[in-house]
C-alpha cells in the first residue's frame, strides 16, 4: 500500500483519540438547547424549532451505543468511532476522487 507510513500514523492517531476527550468543557457556541438556556436564560424560538425532531446521529458525540459504562468503555467507544469515521472518510474521498478522475473506483 502506498503511503503506508501515513496510514500507520493515522492508526496511531485513532488509538490516541481518547486523549482528545479528556479536556473539560465543550466548544464555545456548540451547546444544546439546555446549554443555551443555562447561559442566556431562555432557548430562542427559532433554535428550538429548527432542532425539534433532530434525532441523535448513529454515533452521537463519538460514542458507541452500549459502550458507556466507565472510562474504559468510553475510551473504546471513542477509538471505534475514530476508526469508523476516519475509515469511512478515506473511502468516500478515495471513491469520489477516483470517480471524478474517470476510470472508475478500481
Amino acid at each position: 500500500m502506498i503511503y503506508r507510513r501515513g496510514w500507520i500514523v493515522l492508526l496511531v492517531l485513532a488509538i490516541l483519540t481518547p486523549l482528545g476527550i479528556i479536556a473539560a468543557g465543550g466548544a464555545w457556541g456548540e451547546w444544546d438547547l439546555d446549554g443555551v438556556r443555562a447561559r442566556v436564560g431562555f432557548a430562542p424560538d427559532g433554535m428550538r424549532e429548527s432542532t425539534a425532531g433532530g434525532a441523535d446521529r448513529p454515533l452521537q458525540e463519538y460514542t458507541v451505543p452500549g459502550l458507556d459504562k466507565g472510562f474504559f468503555h468510553e475510551g473504546l467507544g471513542t477509538i471505534l468511532s475514530a476508526l469508523l469515521g476516519a475509515g469511512f472518510t478515506a473511502l468516500i474521498a478515495f471513491a469520489l476522487a477516483r470517480t471524478v478522475k474517470g476510470g472508475g473506483i478500481h
Binding site: G20, G29, P44, S50, T51, E61, F88, L96, G102
Partner: protein, 229 residues
C-alpha cells in the same frame, strides 16, 4: 468551530450551502484536472487525517475546548482546491454519523473550515515561503504561519456568522430567534482562544508536519506547488 443546527437561521444556513456548492464543483474540477492520479490515495489519507485531528480537543482559555483542523497542511500538500473536498468530506461524516456540526449548517461549516481556512492559510504560506525549498527552515515557518492565520480567519468568519443572527433574526421586541449572542460576544469568545491557543496548535501541527515531510519526503510537496498554476 462546528456550528450546530439551530444557531444559524435557515436562510443563512441555506445561503452558505448555495455559496459552497459552486466551490465544491471547482474543487472537484481541480481534482479531476490537476491532482495526479497516483495521489488520490494521499487525498483520501489527508481527508481521514483531518477527521482524526479534529477529535483532539485541547483546553482553551475561558473553560472551553478547541481543536486543530489540518486544512492548511492539506492545502500545502495537494493545493487549496483539493483540500476543500478533503475537509468537506471529514465534516460531512462528522455531521452525519457523529452529530458534530449540524446538517443544515454543513454548508456553513464547509465554507468556514474547508474553503476559507485552507485558502487563507495557503495564501499566507505562499507569501511567506518566498523561494524556500521544502527542506528549508523558512518553508516550515511559512507553513506554521499559514496554519495560524488560516484557523484564525476561519474562527473570525464563524464569529461573524453567529454574531449576525440576533441582528438579522429577532422578534419585534428584540428577542433573538437563533444564536442569541451578538458580535460583541461572539468575536472575543471565538478569537481570544483561537489567537492564543488553537492557532498555536494549528501552527505547530502545520509547521511540524511540513518540517518533517520537507526533510524526509520533499517530493510530496510537488503537487501542492502545481495546484494553482
Amino acid at each position: 468551530m462546528h456550528i450546530p443546527d439551530g444557531y444559524l437561521s435557515p436562510r443563512m444556513a441555506g445561503a452558505l450551502w448555495i455559496a459552497s456548492a459552486p466551490l465544491w464543483a471547482l474543487s472537484l474540477r481541480a481534482i479531476r484536472r490537476r491532482l495526479n492520479r497516483r495521489r488520490v490515495p494521499l487525498l483520501a489519507l489527508l481527508s481521514a487525517f483531518s477527521f482524526l485531528i479534529m477529535m483532539f480537543n485541547i483546553p482553551l482559555p475561558g473553560g472551553t475546548t478547541g481543536h486543530a483542523v489540518g486544512a492548511v497542511l492539506i492545502a500545502i500538500l495537494v493545493g487549496p482546491w483539493a483540500a476543500m473536498t478533503a475537509v468537506t468530506l471529514a465534516l460531512a461524516v462528522q455531521a452525519l454519523l457523529f452529530g458534530d456540526g449540524g446538517i443544515l449548517a454543513l454548508g456553513a461549516n464547509s465554507f468556514n473550515m474547508a474553503f476559507v481556512m485552507p485558502f487563507a492559510g495557503w495564501l499566507v504560506f505562499r507569501l511567506c515561503r518566498g523561494a524556500a525549498r521544502p527542506k528549508d527552515a523558512r518553508f516550515a515557518i511559512a507553513a506554521a504561519a499559514g496554519g495560524y492565520v488560516g484557523i484564525n480567519v476561519a474562527a473570525l468568519i464563524v464569529a461573524i456568522e453567529l454574531g449576525l443572527q440576533p441582528i438579522l433574526h429577532h422578534l419585534p421586541d428584540g428577542t433573538p430567534l437563533y444564536c442569541p449572542f451578538t458580535l460583541g460576544v461572539t468575536i472575543p469568545a471565538m478569537m481570544i482562544p483561537h489567537l492564543v491557543v488553537a492557532g498555536a496548535a494549528e501552527a505547530i501541527l502545520t509547521g511540524g508536519v511540513a518540517a518533517f515531510l520537507g526533510k524526509y519526503h520533499p517530493e510530496l510537496f510537488e503537487a501542492g506547488q502545481e495546484a494553482m498554476k
